[in-house]
Symmetry: C2
Subunit: 329 residues, 2 copies
């Protein structure tokens, strides 16, 4: 900046102002400064700006995996919502592990983000403390934690699956199974299974047809393997709810390989309304959790908080939508 200032015959402060949107600089002078900067190949150094202004224009985001269309959609909604204010996403993946999450959160907080968005409401004790002390707004998403750390934009995974069970029972299915992972690593998956069990139990139905298909998040392949197990172990099953559309699709393909009619012999439901679910043959009954809206609404909350329009912890409840398609009645 000093070079540009010398070249233009102004003070460095004026150069600094020329690089800000609302900087108090005359229009032609600003144009000249920016032209000189471009000619010299100058690129603004935000590390200095970050330190002095105590603003980084980062929003930290943790998601379980970047290779998941649902979370990617949430990130997209966030990115779009925050871009207009010049806020950049600093993204990290937790690999569905709350200890990895703790490490990641600490790393991210060192960068002094303006806000931090986490996926889910279950964290290690230390992660909770770090977030509470961070001084920046915290938003928990994709869940409705009983004891929120700050703001919440999400829904109850358990309730969503309960809705699916209710629908299946109303449609006449009774012997219903659940396919999920074999550990509590993926807290959303665990909540979905819990929702299945309570909904079945409430109606006096057998809630023990549970297939565990590998370490969460389970893949299409694992969904297929799970369906194979299910057909062997519980051949009388009429319908199966899978923890995600990916495993549901895998399960569907296993039926196709075995010549098992879907939905005639067995109905299948997934979760997440991935594009796959709409396109596959048959298309998949599923639950749309409005992933991109979670991102958009989260961005809205963050902007409101940073602009002082929102002071109380926000709680935005997304209502997942049941989508009945060809894989079930």
């Amino acid at each position: 900046m000093a070079d540009i200032a010398r070249e233009t015959g102004v003070s460095p402060m004026t150069v600094s102002r020329a690089f800000k949107r609302d900087g108090a600089v005359g229009a032609e002078r600003r144009a000249e400064i920016l032209a000189v900067a471009e000619r010299l190949g100058y690129v603004f150094d935000s590390t200095a700006s970050n330190l002095r202004s105590q603003r980084t224009d980062f929003v930290a985001v943790t998601i379980p995996s970047i290779n998941n269309a649902n979370f990617a959609d949430t990130v997209r909604g966030l990115t779009e919502g925050l871009a207009e204010r010049g806020l950049q996403i600093l993204l990290g993946a937790t690999n569905y592990d709350i200890h990895d999450e703790e490490r990641l959160i600490e790393q991210l907080l060192r960068r002094r983000p303006e806000a931090i968005v986490v996926t889910g409401g279950r964290h290690t004790q230390r992660a909770r403390r770090l977030l509470a002390n961070a001084g920046s707004p915290v938003v928990e998403t994709w869940d409705l934690p009983a004891d929120p750390l700050g703001h919440v934009v999400g829904f109850s995974n358990a309730d969503a699956v309960r809705g699916m069970v209710d629908h299946f029972v109303a449609a006449g299915y009774r012997r219903i199974a659940f396919i999920g992972g074999d550990a509590d690593r993926d807290t959303r998956g665990t909540d979905r299974r819990a929702g299945f069990i309570t909904a079945m139990a409430k109606r006096g139905l057998d809630a023990t047809r549970l297939i565990a298909a590998g370490v969460p998040p389970i893949s299409m392949r694992e969904g297929a393997d799970a369906m194979a197990l299910l057909l062997d172990q519980f051949p009388e099953t009429e319908a199966v709810i899978c923890v995600s559309d990916l495993s549901a699709f895998g399960a569907l393909t296993e039926c196709q390989r075995r010549g098992v009619d879907v939905p005639g012999r067995i109905a299948i439901a997934g979760f997440g309304d991935f594009e796959l679910a709409a396109v596959s043959v048959p298309s998949l009954t599923t639950i749309n959790a409005f992933a991109i809206d979670i991102g958009r609404r989260t961005a809205g909350v963050i902007l409101d908080v940073l602009d002082g329009r929102q002071n109380e912890p926000a709680k935005i409840v997304i209502a997942p939508e049941l989508i009945v398609r060809g894989s079930s009645r």
Copy 2:
């Protein structure tokens, strides 16, 4: 740090050293300092560190879309390879648009990354200038640019599709079509189509069965629409190569909806070896571009450059693998 120093009875410099891996601090003293820091709820402030040390421990990465399993895999490979050195990924999406890419690159360079990884070898003139002047190593991936900016880890998209055409011709197919997007936004998609055309032309085969199915990247749905068009316009087609596995799967489902036998009546191939391709029924013939290896190798190049083990521009050529599955002979 000053507070911790006072509390512990050492100088701030010693506290600073205690937070570095190889800092010259006695083991018990370091433990005491870290304990005091934890008790005070101190979180290291990297903004100051970034400025003074002129190191950010960021590696900037631009990908076309985060909602793509291939690019997500590359990011995963990168993340894993760089994590051991404490390097964090700063990720941005270009939306398959080189003008968005230019803006993104400028934004990212302001953060002074240690290196920058871009997807593809086609950039705006200004983006090229920015990258060339950045002073940090540049790696172009997922392509083999004729005029590289720096390091390259990739493969020829055109050659990969040529290999697929060769295979199809060897398998006896002659009337072969290509399904892709309708614009040159996605340069990899454009290269793949070009590879198809030259390979067909070289063999004297009709290379005009080209279906454009919407703005790249084309979705499963658009792949299905494209297959509908193809079956109407060129009903004699024996095989179709799709720009990606997603569109190939969409195309497959359209055949299933219409009762068109795959591969009996028409063969289908995709690109990318997404999990979908291995699981679907029939499974999809495709090309594995080893996305995760691109990420790993790129991480390797970056570490080599930063450690001074690599001074010349690296050119790492990945050999895509043809995977023949049930959707073709």
